[in-house]
Amino acid sequence: MAPPSSRRSSGFSKKAQYSVFTGYLLAGLGALLGLALLVLSLWQPAAFAPLRSGASDAIAPVGTGTAQVRDASGSTWQNIKAYWNAGSQNAALRKEVEEARIRLKEVEAVAQENERLKSLVALSESEIEPVAVARLVGSSPTSSRRFAYIGKGRSDGIEVGMPVRSARGVVGRVLEVARNSSRILLLTDSESVLPVRRSTDETVAFAEGRGDGLLRIRLINLGLNPLEVGDVFVTSGAGGYYRPNVAVAILSEKTPDGGLARLVAAPSATDFVSVEPKFEPEAVDASLSSENSPFDQTEDGGEAAN
């Protein structure tokens, strides 16, 4: 059996030989071009931002549609799952609600006391108005980098560096802005670093993305590791991007220098996110202007990342 024409060698035909040679030449040149572009974009991550922005603008409407379907199908699945173990779950929930009611009363008392103390020191806490509320319309599920896209951009007043949060907690930070879409650096990206503190005390730490869906909690004060599994971490407000006391992660495993934590606001379960203004723009600008301070390195590693 003769091999199919595509698998036959080009033989003595000069034309066929030339076309094979040209094919290899073009493919080799293409590979070199790719290498050059790759080096360029690793060296200057912002170089191809306009191209990517145009592309993400173009697919944002498509993503909105699939995001709606995703939310709907997700909740259907949740409903089906809820029927499983419904009885025992009901009993457990009843108990939990009773306990929660008691705790709620205690919290109300604390809130009232808080208000009274604040009025004593004349400290008014203004509610932060979100710049925009948008759907997560897409992400980079095949790459080892963790990015997400939202369907609002520069025309809605979004700027690079603004924190993005869902109703549950911090999701990430705006990395690139196009006209009608923006790219978000998720907390689990390995270039993302976020200053956090334990919710119950002033144990401060950095929450770094590991690229595998978990956050690495790295304590700043080393020594005896005071963390325990189940500790909740909230933003500390350091760095100036995120306002303090927004939930970030729950510790799931202890390590010698801190621990591993799970996200509170997992992007797959997130429907709408709100983009908030930078907490203290002056602090961010100051840390950006001082180029070679080590704090800047840890704080803005994600900023320079591609």
Binding site: G34, L42, T66, S139, P141, S190, E191, S268
Partner: protein, 185 residues
Amino acid sequence: MDRLGPPQRSASRYSGGINRVQNPWRANTVPYVTILLGSLIPTVLVAEAMPILPPLGYLMLLCWRVMRPGFLPLWVGVPLGAFDDLFSGQPFGSAILLWSVTMIVLEFIETRFPWRGFWQDWFTAAIAMVLYIVFAMVVSGAPLTLPMFVAAIPQIAIAILLYPPFARMVAWFDMFRLARARRVG
């Protein structure tokens, strides 16, 4: 007059001829469109905390390359890779490089082993997927850590297991591509 036995050219069902006219547009664009959709769909499909979906655009490219050797020109990695780079989250240029290298390497394999079966094709595709995912991680610009490689294991496993269904799907697309466009008489 009755015909005796099947037609002599068994490939004629998909190779044009009298009353077998293909739609040239469909015959020439379906592979490219499916590869582009493969690059695009994962982006709008899910938002996950860890990479879980295999690079579907690359998987489609592999399937088409293995299924229809000689259809995609060798340099096709440049335009298709550039499109993939726009959406994949990788630094621009990584897919251009890796897809072009894949096309060249597969061409070498093609000339070295002209006759292959499904299992060899699966083996080749599996090795290509593993290398692609690992190299894509290396050039992604993120600091390389052990947890990242561990996190890539399910992705790699899914990618390898997805080859047979995708090969079947590409075969179906190929039939659609070459189906006759209109019936005469």
